[in-house]
Assembly symmetry: C2
């Protein structure tokens, strides 16, 4: 093999995530990640060819974690569970939630690395597919309304709390459910 690693890739991503939470995208410098993990800069570059690649991987790791539960709920035809997945996931993964929902992807990795293109595409299409499949099973449903209820409202509901560094309060779920039912009853 070779020399065993003293620092894992995930340790580096964890450090980057923590720094991101404290100081925003600009604070995530290679030097900062180095200082936080204790790993020398050379080791960082041994794992990640560039800063953009590191941040892109961090973003992907966060997204994967979120997407899984969402797609599962949709596959079960459970729209309400899918809508509630956002606040629940935020409570379970506050740091990842803040990273994902408080920043634009381009603000993290200015240049999305080519080699990660496929992974990015996969994330996007698999989510779209889950929605398409649901719509195919429910011809009466309206896509606009679904997006509103599944994405827009939960996102908005959660955001203010993440910004404040808090976890979304439990009362939020009732509000989201009320919205969900009212809007879906419409069309």
């Amino acid at each position: 093999m070779g020399r065993p690693a003293k620092f894992t890739q995930d340790q580096m991503l964890d450090a980057a995530l923590a720094i991101l939470g404290d100081g925003g995208p600009a604070a995530v410098t290679m030097a900062a990640v180095s200082a936080r993990t204790g790993a020398p800069i050379g080791s960082l570059y041994h794992r990640f060819a560039s800063r953009d690649l590191l941040l892109a991987r961090l973003w992907l790791r966060c997204v994967e974690s979120f997407r899984e539960g969402f797609i599962a709920a949709m596959a079960d035809d459970d729209v309400e569970a899918a809508a509630l997945h956002t606040p629940r996931w935020c409570r379970a993964n506050p740091a990842a939630a803040a990273a994902l929902l408080l920043h634009r992807r381009e603000d993290l990795a200015a240049q999305w690395p080519d080699q990660l293109g496929p992974e990015l595409a996969e994330v996007n299409t698999s989510t779209a597919d889950a929605l398409d499949a649901y719509l195919a099973r429910h011809p009466g449903a309206d896509r606009q309304h679904l997006m509103f209820v599944l994405a827009d409202v939960p996102y908005g509901a959660v955001r203010r709390h993440l910004l404040a560094g808090r976890t979304p309060p439990p009362e939020l779920d009732a509000l989201i459910l009320t919205t969900c039912r009212a809007v879906l009853a419409t069309g």
Copy 2:
């Protein structure tokens, strides 16, 4: 007097706003603003003591524009109009809307300039006051529910479209209204 100005402060802010829309906060360098307006860097620093000050002023200009209509609607006791103010204002001011809703204040001006502290405080308190006044007039209303309906839902509704560079579609207003009525009927 002296030599008349060739470039106004608003021209510089407009350029910064456009650059922000194209490339995000990091793209708004003094050199970029200089190139876009045609004004030399020296002129920029003649008007704005620092980059942070320029971006802080840009942010304030955007916020003021939004706040006005919102506060007016609240003063009229018209919650539905206040909720719809967000999508309407976004349609009327797409660039400012993107700047305001797609970035965190700290991502624009890393260090908020001291001299702008009072203006920032004013923005925050005046909005809070409008809400407090409404609550005082309507003892039955629930603050959480109001925030959800006035801030969270409209914000979420609009965001996805701003991200895509589109203007929020008109159908959104009906969805927001439906949500507004359903949630306020609850508490």
